[in-house]
Amino acid sequence: MPSTFFGLEISRRALQTQQLAVDITGHNIANASTVGYSRQIADIQAAVPWPMTENGHSISLGTGAVLDNIVRARDAFVDRQYRWETSQQQYWAVKQETLQNIEGLVNEPSDNSISSDLSNFWNAWSDLAKNPDNMGARAVVRERALTLTDSFHYMAQQVDDLQKDQDASVRVKIRQINDDAKQIRELNIQIKNAEIRGDSPNDLRDKRDGLVDDLANLVGVRVTETRDSAFSDRQVNNYSIIIGNDSASPPQVLVDNCLVNLLQEPEAAGPDGKPFAAVCWAEGSKAGAALDLGEKKGSLQANIEMRDSYLPTFRGQFDSLAQGIARAVNILHNTGQGLTVSSGIDFFTLSDGSSPTAASPVTAATITLNSLIKENSGMIVTGLNTDDSGSPLTEVVVGDGRVAQALASLASGWTALQEQIQEHVFDPLGADDLNPVPAASFGDYYGANIAQLGVDGQQANRMKEGQDALVTQISNQRESISGVSLDEEMTNLVKFQKSYTAAARMVTMMDDMLDTIVNGMGITR
């Protein structure tokens, strides 16, 4: 037989347990909108029964309820999916953002872009061809040329700035990864200590999961949590994080329990010779080696790709365009004379005024109108500098607009011009091959580049949209498991409150019973 006061003990346990359950519910309600919070569940178990012997056999008598544990509602599999998808989402988000910046930069289709600057430039030549002696038409050609070179300079400058922005992002993100890694290590220590004591530190785990989520925005992460075999009687885990390409060998371990391998950002010459931050391991078995980022994961990788390959390629297209225009215009411009007899001068030069050559061609950043022309638009070449028999002119023929006309016709391609060069109508010295860019005309070359940019932008938009949908779905799934539902908490609150009231009632009843025993039993009148 249990003690007389056994019932009181059950009630006490009940009161205590329900009170704790109410506290846990309160904690949930308080954190209903905390980011990364996982709802906690009071794991109430029946207490160990008390075996008593009755009628010659053993009977387990229930001893009430105890709070066995506080459990965190969390699904590690959904976490992994979530991180996998956010890594990709963030990769495409950065791509999308940068491509949108570039799209804003080229400002196509509009009447205020390099495309329209080019059209205006060719049209100015066509106008000049009609009136080669007209100073107004000459000034227009000069101004259009200046506008065109300014646009090229602006474009080169802006692409440079974008590249620098990307580099700054890379540096910030490396520091962020290091910070996260250090914090995760601290949490690993605290969590492990708690686990060794038999505790389950739910809120610390939430915090660690939140940090890993942050990390997943920057790089691909893979979390491994295994049981520590040194502790056989309780659940103590080893927690490690691999970043980047998860099949790299040796594995790229960022955090392993209480160890952390940090990254560094040594300045190194990028693919186009600019001093950009490289991403290397600073510590651990891979110290000094570059971080292998794997496939399209995390915003860091998108920044690096944009900085090291996309933007240089993009600027390269404008360099080729500038180079092609300068080359073709110069070849023709050199065959003629303006308002004074000359043996032909370059229309476009490098920024230091020197002639572009095959070894040092102009780029979008350096294409410059010849300073002689800038000062005196009479130097703009309109007519040929040889007569029909091919001997040099001694006197200017001001009404000859053939060179200007040839330049204007570059607008629609150079096939016909090529023939004229081969027939020696134009006799460029040392260069009889125009073909400035691999396309039918400058406009086509430019258009193809813009279309390519559009295709890339469209791909980034679509991928981002798809990833958004996936992340939303998984977030909802995660929220469904871990999120706090106020309705549920209120229901639980009522449940626990009623249990508490009932347990209190039980105490009162026990009191009555004891009263009967103490004050009523064995008294005779």
């Binding site: 080019l118 258009g447 559009g454």
Partner: protein
Amino acid sequence: MRITNNMLSRNLLRNLENAQGRMDILQNQMSSGSRILKPSDDPVAVQNALRLKNSISAVEQWKNNADEAIQYMNNCDGVLENISSMLQRVRELAVQGANGTLSAEDRNAVSLEVDQLQEQLRLAANTQIGSKYIFSGTQTDKELQKWDGVNWTWQGNDQEIRFEVGSNVSLPISVNGQTLFKTPLTGVSGMFDTLSSLSSAIKTNDTTAVEDSLKNIDGNIDNVIAHLTDLGARTNRMTMLREQMNTMSSNLQQNLSDIQDADIAKTMIDFTNSENVYKAALSVGAKIIQPSLVDFIN
């Protein structure tokens, strides 16, 4: 599936954002009138639009060139007509001069008029349109006939002035002053030489020389008419080209508009739809966000 309050509000927010995003896109399309605002909206269409814009710009330029060319050629035409009628008058005078019955005074008067006409023709040969001497070939800054104090000298060259009126199409718009005045048809002497010899032949009453001049005058008249015909033919061709370019330009504009312009009616309807969705989302949101069990438990 377990639904939480956070989930509800987050989904609501996302849907509101989506609806607003759609409205933003449609609003931009409506206010700009353009379906494509950046390359990624439709890369292929953007490339086509760029190509069409380049073509339109080139065609507009050629149209301008053609207009200017037609104007120029009409002016030349007027000058040639004028020259032709002056030569007709010279011919009448030559016929009068060939008549041996004229008195010496009359012959002098006729010869004087021929001299005057010659002066007039020299002025015509030095006609300027704008600042250009139209009969001097590409040496447009030089007059065709220049008085060096002793003699009249010839200047200019026989190069054509060509205007670009198409992709690799350029048409000559000038009249060759050399073949018009200096070296007409074979066997015919130049206009001014003919007039000089006519004038002196009339003065000296040399009827055979006058007869010879008459032949040369006829040759010169034929020559001017030949130039006029040639110019007229070229003017016609230029006018036709301009008409073609007008059509081409409006076709290209139409194509560009098909590619890049927003369908206003459709955009409007789409916008109204997204507006309704947005409003519905808002009103539903106002209803679901508020109540929970908290509101019903005392």
